[in-house]
Amino acid sequence: MNELATIETLLFVAGDDGLSLKQISSVLEITTQHAYQLLMTLQKEYELAQDRGLMIMEVGDTYQLATKKEYAEIIKKFAVSPLTTSLSQASLETLAIIAYKQPITRMEIDEIRGVQTTGALQKILMRGLIEEKGRVDGPGRAILYGTTKYFMDYFGLKDMAELPSIAEIELPEEEMTSDLFYDRFQQLEEVEAVDEQEEPSDDINLFNIEE
């Protein structure tokens, strides 16, 4: 075990929280002076090594690992690369709901999707596809979202009516649930019917009704 390597791992694990000299000295059971010397040695090693992209940054009285300044541009490139920023299903659904139902609040989107949407909304905002379109009147004054001009340009739309119609696939809420119970009922009867046929009399292994 190597002291420099140990400090490297501790810095790595500590992340943005940073690591104080006191922490290093207590984990390694060395004096803070010694800890400081090691830290400086590691810092110098990073600095001199051409094939190292990391550095040690001092923040307040803690130290943390960071990437060297000269690699900021490439990280920026990575950050906006389509492979890094591809739109998830959640983002697409959120975008679709906003496109069809705008202006709409986050709460309403959550309700339609049946799950929380926070992260996805952030992502499509960042892609410039949606924007704030004012606020709801009344208490809470929730933000209303709608699609942007960039959205129209990107999809080559003159008018939102040019989006494929959802009238046919969209059923009112109650209709949908009753339909659902009907489906269940049907399923259950089907299973029973099948079982009755296949199992003549004594073997009563009907345990699979649930699947």
Binding site: E93, G114, F185, E210
Partner: protein, 253 residues
């Protein structure tokens, strides 16, 4: 006593317990002496009872299975057409233990795999990784690539979302459906019957339940109990009242 809810956490279920017994008694898994295993299995169940543990219904179902196999093996064998290539006792299909042995072998595979995973879990926990850096700051106004999305993607996402919602709904009814399992229902019915001390009970009383699914479950539970010879049912005339009794099945008509 029945109110105490406690699993036999030391074992992962009846199969685990059976494997344990087979191991402990140094038995051949391919030729299990059912009588011996059943005896040990029941002894274990009794021990758990003494400790006032609520024995999970899965264990009771297995006990019934073992007893059924045991009794089948005691039955005099009818003219066995022993295949010349088959060295076994019976033709493979005739061994009442076959299904159970297969189940045990299959389960043992995954038990082994689970041990392997446990080792890997331990090894992996020695390596520390870090969370991804927050690139938020860099990601203002990231444009889409040409043709990354089309209007059909938007439409598709919407319809998929509706579809998923529709599918997720039965999940809720399904949970309701599972509130009462057949095993639980069997236990309920038995409890009611036992309280009667040998007196008959109107079949209908079991069906005063809330939902159709519970009705189905109740019906299946009754059938299972008959199969396990825990109850029997009497009907004196066609369309007449059905009476339920505790104990081994008599002639059902």
């Amino acid at each position: 006593m029945a109110e105490i809810h406690l699993k036999m956490d030391a074992f992962e279920g009846p199969l685990d317990l059976l494997l344990h017994l087979i191991q402990k008694l140094e038995l051949d898994i391919y030729d299990i002496p059912v009588a011996e295993v059943t005896e040990q299995y029941m002894a274990y169940i009794h021990a758990m009872k003494e400790l006032q543990l609520d024995i999970a219904s899965d264990y009771l179902v297995m006990a019934a299975t073992l007893l059924a196999i045991k009794s089948k093996m005691l039955l005099p064998k009818q003219e066995l057409a022993i295949d010349e290539e088959d060295e076994g006792y019976f033709e493979t299909g005739d061994d009442p233990r076959e299904a159970l042995v297969e189940q045990l072998l299959e389960y043992r595979k995954y038990k082994y795999a689970a041990d392997e995973l446990k080792e890997r879990e331990e090894t992996r926990s020695q390596y520390y990784t870090k969370a991804p850096a927050d690139l938020h700051e860099w990601q203002q106004n990231v444009p889409l690539n040409p043709l990354q999305l089309t209007t059909s993607d938007i439409f598709l996402a919407f319809s998929q979302m509706l579809h998923r919602k529709k599918l997720n709904q039965p999940l809720q009814t399904k949970i309701a459906l599972q509130e009462v399992t057949i095993e639980e229902k069997m236990a309920d019915i038995l409890a009611i019957i036992r309280k009667k001390n040998g007196e008959k009970i109107d079949f209908q009383t079991f069906f005063e339940v809330a939902t159709k699914s519970e009705m189905v479950t109740t019906f299946l539970a009754v059938l299972e109990l008959m199969k396990a010879k825990s109850i029997w049912i009497e009907q004196k005339e066609v369309f007449g009242e059905l009476w339920v009794y505790e104990g081994a099945m008599h002639v059902v008509e």
